[in-house]
Symmetry: C2
């Protein structure tokens, strides 16, 4: 299959860079095609601004969604953005790899999302009616493709555990996994997270490498996070609230949107 | 008092820009000093890279935390970063204002955090021992200052409610409120969130303006989010897990870190 890795670390000679090499080699050994968008090497423009919409008159007020919609429809987005959109369409699986900075992705990767996820491409897709609220959350342009995060963190696993002070890692990553990957239709695999990466010795790297190789070998078979699809009947339209009693007793917050055993 | 507003919208002639004007006027009417960091107008560099650490030899491997630590200690960070750090030290209250893009801040504001929050300034502060794990989460450089978010969203309030498909707004903003504001010591006020901003008419703007004026009038008196301080005894050290039975029955995830009635 075709795998796109979007890589967002400022230093290629880093643990992240080494893990990228390990993952790429393993994917190629399995016969997959791999493309890497190394955002720092590409000098990726991180900021959405007027220059992203070349056909917008210079003195016209910038409304991002409508400008994005018009330029996407007319093929007028900038070449760097169109190139990344083409890679997304080419890929069967997309991996976002980044160091966790301030509990989310670095700015350069957020800027990749902000710019590449055009209106009509990643949002604003599909019809709104009393039975559908657009093609999103499990439907959309990326439907049928898989995606996952590869994340490195300086903190300890305990700090990101159920009672850890940083918050549970799955909750910290929910806005990305659910809001950025599931939203335009990706099937989302559990994240690969490496902790205490500033203290990693050679033995630790060997173990980590084997873990990421195993994840690369099982991309097609790993069970995804069972997020609820928006238009399959679990949500009220148009309030988009989860209907009563679908969740496990006691489930609240983000976990409502993951299908569990129905006991209600 | 001194108020810093960090503003991250690409169009000054936007609802966000209008709310910025309303907030600024109200603060000045109350006798406060206001500074605005309009990141787009400043052409803020969003990406952390080698150029942020001028004393780092060009061929040396970039380790962000150690480079940041050394340059901060030696006064060698770039002038734009030092300017923002000076504004933070000047301010009694800091407001981050932005449109919610993909369930978090735009890249340009994330890049402000990534670059301005140097090691030794916003993290890597204080001693580690069996009683303290650095000055963070309620202690640190920003201790004694207040902070809050002003956020605009296109979606409906229901979509961000307790059972809404996007996830509860307070959980989506937790990584910012707790991980970016509380972490270096700010006292964090509840966020101001405006919904359905693409459909706002004049009457709606009048109501919204009055709401933000009221929040600006009560900056000093609004009750903060009662996040638990890290070093006050609620957490095990060094695993930084919340000690048993401190939370309300049934509380999980991010909500563990907000002090409630102790019923355990």
């Amino acid at each position: 299959m075709n795998v796109l890795i979007v890589f967002a670390h400022p230093e290629r000679r880093s643990l992240n860079g080494a893990l990228l090499d390990v993952a790429t080699a393993e994917l190629q050994a399995q016969g997959h095609e791999v493309k890497v968008s190394d955002l720092y090497a590409m000098h990726w423009k991180a900021t959405v601004d007027q220059a992203d919409f070349p056909d917008l008159p210079a003195d016209e007020r910038l409304k991002v969604a409508s400008a994005s919609s018009r330029e996407f429809a007319e093929g007028g987005l900038t070449e760097d953005v169109k190139g990344e959109q083409a890679k997304l369409l080419w890929a069967d699986t997309v991996i976002l790899q980044f160091p966790l900075w301030w509990f989310t992705m670095p700015a350069i990767l957020k800027g990749w999302v902000d710019r590449v996820y055009a209106y009509g491409f990643a949002y604003g897709v599909g019809e709104h009616s009393d039975r559908r609220w657009g093609d999103r959350y499990g439907e959309g342009t990326m439907a049928g493709k898989r995606a996952m995060l590869v994340v490195t963190a300086g903190g300890w696993p305990e700090h990101y555990s159920a009672r850890g002070i940083n918050g549970p890692i799955d909750d910290l990553l929910f806005p990305i996994n659910h809001g950025i990957l599931f939203y335009p239709g990706f099937t989302v695999l559990p994240s690969f997270v490496a902790y205490q990466v500033d203290r990693l010795d050679e033995a630790g790297f060997t173990i980590l490498s084997e873990h990421i190789r195993e994840r690369m070998r099982t991309l097609a078979t790993t069970a995804p996070i069972p997020y609820r699809k928006q238009n399959d009947g679990d949500y009220q339209i148009p309030t988009m609230e989860l209907k009563p009693k679908l969740e496990k007793p006691g489930a609240v917050g983000f976990s409502l949107h993951i299908a569990g055993e129905k006991t209600g």
